[in-house]
């Protein structure tokens, strides 16, 4: 026992040193970020559900709606548990992953200690560390709890769940979770669905995995298995809810049998594939695969397919990846296919059957996208993005390669489910197949897009050695996420032509500033769908141009006065925008950046954050919550800038819109803020700006005018000629 305490003391000293040298921020940020991002994700989900409910779209996809509602009605509990599970996954894998094992456990094993002592020391220490983590989690939790109207009992319950989950390392926590879910959920049915549908099969899966020696990559695999099969079991919960016709008991039996079969098949598959792979991996020569690979590399001339092929080979040469990228999608698809086949005798016109088909596919596609993409940066790259930084490829290309590689798995999963549905219920025609395939491809692209964006963020935060590039990558990742989520909102019930347009926009976003265009277009599309005449609530054209202008000028004046005080609490390094504009010598690059910052960003971000998000959040949650939520999301998207300043800007922009009743005020303020910052930056630090170096004062004035005035005109034209028009509903004009 004294040795365990000695170990803990050493570890605690290390933690203490980290805290006192300030490198604790590298520890605090991942936790905070992960939590906040998950909560935001849930807030967005809730928002999506509300929207579905309001627009009556659940008639089209009531089944998917059911899934979402189950999640979001229990959003706090589920959300926290999601984030805690992710934390748990990260903690456990951090503690026992390959690098840690070589650096830490091997070192410790060289000392006169038993493995049992080391493990206990780790578990006890982790509990301490998680307490620290809990302290970090509290502020966002309280904010979220407030928004969701949680009682004080709820908070207490959450704390208990969290601690229990961490101390119990899973199983004990699950028991407490069940009690917590029961206490906090609104009906027994919800509790029951959650318990049986999510965790019983997961428990079975873990037990099966533990029995099989072939899954020996430790708890990482274990946790992934738990997750994967839990998610794959979601349809079981629906079956129990009576959504699937037939007797509940027979569905339960069928579902459990299906899961048991999948677990068995999965283990068997892993075992055999593993043996086949180990012939390659255990110091043997890669042989023919290697020759093929070399020929392929030599033929491909572009970084994206080269990186995608590399990902493929690395994935198929490792047993762990086989589980997550091949077996798990197969498992999820099989559960869904099984449920469809069991209902083959039912009528296609039965709405339940349609819901089953749509939501099965949606769940398969969305979850598999996330699970597979998260492997990509964690296990395939082993968090070593710095290596990619030494090669002549951009991070954008790396992300794109991941999307290209993982997407086929996601598409295959979705299509297999859809095929089963068409086979059972028809019509099994070329036209139907083509239409559904397009749907699935678009959905899969969007989901993988968002998933890769999220997945990229974790290693960026985990590895402290990335340096300032992390800002670049974070912004990229967040943009990917926003693009995927925003466009995903539009997927429900769109006609094929609109799906094709969305697809085109995704492709555009890959090419550069398209993500901002997409954000704007998606916002306008949403507003037009939701409002009889969106021009009225948005205040297009402004009821009083003078008031809008006054509000815009006031916001910017106030912010520029307060800014220096607030900035002191934020990051000290220049933002991505400043870095680009100061360092580049390419006029084209500067033009794109300036246009994006002065024209696209004010319009599209205001349409989304104030026009869509703030208004929806205000309607659902209340005035203050609406302002806070939209401002927080706005700040998160601008991670390369001082967070407080951006949050304050978000608040002021919402208030400007609210006070004047027109989005023109906030768009104008946003534009003015970006514009004044650009001009001030150029004016005060011309020596830093490569292309301005050597200009006199006069030359500088002209250069600033050339850089800042045309975008200002373009901004006005875009607002006037494009946005006002497309935001105005044709229905309204016809009347």
């Amino acid at each position: 026992m004294d040795r365990i305490w000695a170990l803990i003391r050493v570890k605690l000293t290390i933690v203490g040193n980290r805290l006192s040298t300030g490198s604790a921020s590298s520890r605090a940020w991942p936790l905070l970020f992960r939590t906040v991002s998950l909560l935001l994700l849930l807030a967005l989900l809730r928002f999506a559900v509300t929207w579905l409910e309001e627009t009556g779209r659940f008639v089209v996809s009531r089944y998917g709606f059911e899934v979402f509602r189950t999640f979001t009605n229990l959003s706090l509990v589920t959300g926290l548990l999601l984030s805690m599970f992710v934390n748990l996954l990260v903690f456990v894998s951090e503690e026992f992953d390959a690098t840690e094992a070589t650096r830490d456990t091997n070192l410790l094993l060289a000392l006169p200690l038993t493995l049992r002592q080391i493990v206990w020391a780790k578990v006890i220490l982790r509990t301490f560390q998680d307490m620290y983590g809990l302290c970090l989690l509290v502020p966002p939790l309280v904010v979220y709890g407030r928004i969701m109207g949680l009682s004080s009992w709820g908070y207490l319950g959450l704390g208990a769940i969290y601690v229990a989950l961490e101390i119990g390392q899973g199983f004990v926590g699950m028991v407490v979770y069940l009690a917590g879910a029961h206490r906090l959920s609104r009906s027994r049915l919800e509790t029951f669905k959650l318990v049986v549908g999510l965790f019983l099969p997961a428990l079975l899966a873990v037990m099966a995995a533990m029995l099989k020696e072939s899954v020996n990559d430790g708890r990482i695999v274990d946790c992934h298995a738990r997750w994967g099969f839990a998610l794959g079991a979601t349809p079981l919960a629906w079956a129990l809810d009576g959504l699937v016709p037939g007797a509940a008991l027979s569905r339960l039996v069928a579902g459990l049998a299906g899961l048991a079969a999948i677990v068995a098949v999965a283990n068997l598959a892993i075992h055999h594939l593993g043996r086949a792979v180990s012939k390659l991996s255990e110091g043997e020569r890669p042989g023919r695969v290697g020759d093929w690979l070399l020929r392929t590399f030599a033929r491909l001339r572009w970084p994206v397919p080269i990186l995608a092929v590399k990902d493929a080979v690395l994935t198929f040469r490792r047993k762990v990846f086989l589980l997550t990228s091949v077996v798990m999608p197969l498992g999820v698809a099989s559960v869904n296919v099984l449920l469809i086949l069991l209902n083959a005798g039912a009528s296609r016109s039965d709405p339940t059957i349609q819901h089953l088909a749509n939501s099965s596919m949606l769940v398969s596609v969305a979850f598999i996208a996330y699970l597979t993409a998260s492997q990509s940066f964690g296990l395939v790259e082993q968090g070593k993005i710095p290596f990619l930084q030494t090669l002549p490829v951009s991070f954008h290309q790396v992300m794109l390669a991941k999307v290209v590689f993982w997407c086929p798995f996601v598409i295959a999963t979705g299509i297999s489910v859809k095929l089963a549905f068409l086979w059972c219920f028809g019509p099994f025609t070329v036209g139907a197949l083509a239409g559904h395939t397009l749907w699935i491809v678009v959905a899969a692209l969007l989901c993988t897009h968002a998933a890769v964006g999220v997945a990229a963020l974790f290693p960026v935060f985990e590895s402290g050695i990335l340096g300032e590039r992390r800002i670049n990558i974070m912004v990229g990742g967040l943009l990917y996420l926003m693009v995927g989520l925003t466009a995903g909102l539009l997927l429900f019930g769109l006609r094929p032509i609109n799906k094709a347009v969305l697809l085109l926009l995704v492709v555009l976003s890959w090419l550069g500033a398209g993500s901002q265009v997409l954000l704007g277009v998606a916002s306008v599309a949403y507003l037009r769908e939701k409002e009889p005449d969106p021009a009225v609530p948005l205040g297009f054209p402004p009821p009083s141009a003078g008031a809008a202008a006054l509000a815009a000028v006031s916001v910017v004046t106030l912010l520029n006065l307060v800014g220096p005080l607030v900035v002191r609490f934020g990051t000290g390094s220049p933002g991505y925008f400043e870095l680009l504009i100061t360092r580049t010598t390419s006029l084209h690059a500067i033009a794109v950046v300036v246009f994006a910052a002065l024209v696209l960003a004010p319009v599209s971000e205001e349409l989304f954050f104030r026009g869509v998000l703030y208004r929806a959040a205000r309607a659902q949650l209340g005035e203050v919550q609406g302002v806070v939520l939209s401002a927080l999301l706005f700040a998160v998207l601008h991670v390369d800038r001082p967070v407080l300043l951006m949050a304050l800007l978000g608040v002021l922009l919402a208030l400007a819109y609210r006070a004047t009743g027109t989005l023109v005020a906030s768009i104008g303020a946003h534009f003015l803020f970006n514009w004044t910052n650009l001009v001030l930056y150029l004016w005060h630090r011309p020596a830093d700006v490569t292309i301005l170096a050597g200009l006199g004062r006069d030359g500088l004035c002209w250069a600033i005018a050339a850089l800042a005035v045309p975008p200002a005109l373009a901004f006005w034209l875009v607002l006037r000629l494009v946005i006002f028009r497309i935001a105005s509903s044709p229905r309204h004009r016809a009347v």
Partner: protein, 244 residues
Amino acid sequence: MIELVGVSKDYDGMPAVQDLTMTVPAGSVLGFLGPNGAGKTTTIKLLMGMLFPSAGSVRVDGIDPVAEPIKVRERVGYLPDVPFLYEYLSPHEMLGMVGALHRLDGELARRRAAALFEEFSLTDKATELILSLSKGTRKKVALALALLHEPPVLLLDEPTSGLDPQTVKVLKDRVRREQARGTTVVLSTHVLDVAQEVSTHLAIVHQGRLVFHDTLETAIGRATGEGRSLEGLFLQLTGTARHG
């Protein structure tokens, strides 16, 4: 040619490199010396555009790595202090991939890879998974990766650590040949003998500041220690003589 003008870099307010101004002429070999933690690796990462300078500007082969990192990486062969290789690829496949990313012709990449494997005695290991290779062998693979696209600039961070004497000899010969070919080489090391044997210029950093930068001859001229070796100069400039 490499230029650093007034470059500073700090991590959360802790200065790692301070006001570094230095030019490495094209076709020269700079021995980049300094005690552990002096800022050598930070400087090399600044040259690669993996870190941004807090102040000052950097040019590698005339290109700003902050603005155009990809162009810089096309022109630089970089050996990191701790090389990372995909363990489930073979050296052959790894070079094939990196060659393709540098847009080398397939046949050319194969020939160069074969020559590099021959040079670093890797031929019999070339088709094994990197997973099974020893630390020194991995370092040799990383060296081959840095040299594959015949870059005009080589940044080698501690290239000799973990290598056997035979390979150190091969490396030194290679650096001399690269210099004859007109390649600019920055060789960060704390093995003074290696620096003395292959460098044309020397730079010594200490606590983030450049304390010496001149040709090798001048350095040896200034050296005061036994046998007029670099060791005396190094210890004198880095202020470690009186402690040790």
